[in-house]
């Protein structure tokens, strides 16, 4: 088992840093480039959800991202203590957006991962637990 934890301020300037870091973390087990790009996309969607929806881009607030590698299984946990999601079923509906955005974030995460769990309550923050099975190069 290998674990990485990153706490960062809720600003979009950090989005690329975090997705690239988790991508590099996954690369330590020699997974395919396709998997790394999927992971970067998943992390980007989850992190921008925390920054834009959770904290409404309040730079003083902090997001916590954890990556856990267990053989070829990667767990990504993205946690904020922001506004939370009132209605999870509505939030994961394709094209739903409370902020005039594309509303495709959860659709993309679900499509590129092997499991997505959303734990959230209004005003109690949001925790996304995402599982991705990685393909090791040459196997």
């Amino acid at each position: 088992m290998n674990k990485i934890e990153i706490k960062f301020n809720a600003t979009l300037e950090n989005e690329a840093v975090i997705r690239n870091t988790i991508g590099l973390f996954a690369a330590t087990i020699n997974c395919t480039i396709e998997d790394i790009i999927d992971i970067k996309t998943i992390v980007s969607e989850a992190v921008s959800n925390a920054i834009i929806h959770g904290y409404e881009q309040d730079k003083e607030k902090e997001v916590l991202v954890t990556g856990i590698l267990n053989d070829n299984e990667l767990i990504i946990i993205v946690k904020d203590d922001g506004v939370g999601i009132d209605n999870i079923a509505e939030a994961i509906r394709v094209n739903y957006s409370s902020k005039n955005r594309s509303g495709l974030g959860f659709t993309i995460i679900k499509s590129l991962s092997d499991d997505l769990q959303i734990k959230s309550k209004k005003d109690m923050g949001t925790k996304l637990i995402i599982k991705k099975i990685l393909t090791i190069k040459g196997q």
């Binding site: 300037e13 989005e15 690329a16 594309s102």
Partner: protein
Amino acid sequence: MDSRISIKDNKNVVIFKVEGDFDNLLCIKYKSSITEILARKKAELTIFDLSQVNFIDSSGIGLLLGRYKQVNEYKGKLIICGVNKQIKKTLAISGIALIIDTYEDIYENIKESITSYE
């Protein structure tokens, strides 16, 4: 590589060449100027050249969808070209590939089939 969008326009064609990461930061930086250029030019053909894009997420897709609707309002056409395997995958998941014509080739190679716009 710094992410950026450069603009090339001919008489009836506007080409936006996107380079680097097509993400939130890039969209925030360029969205209003792209919208303004399209509103002013009302070109028959708008092309987003993604051949130098390493990464796209839902914000990039949102920008493309928004411009597609804008171009449609004045009866123009919008296409996406230079789409690699990974970008194609994200476009397919989002459903955007069903409504916007996408090409793997760069613009120079598909130019012949759409020259009627120039």
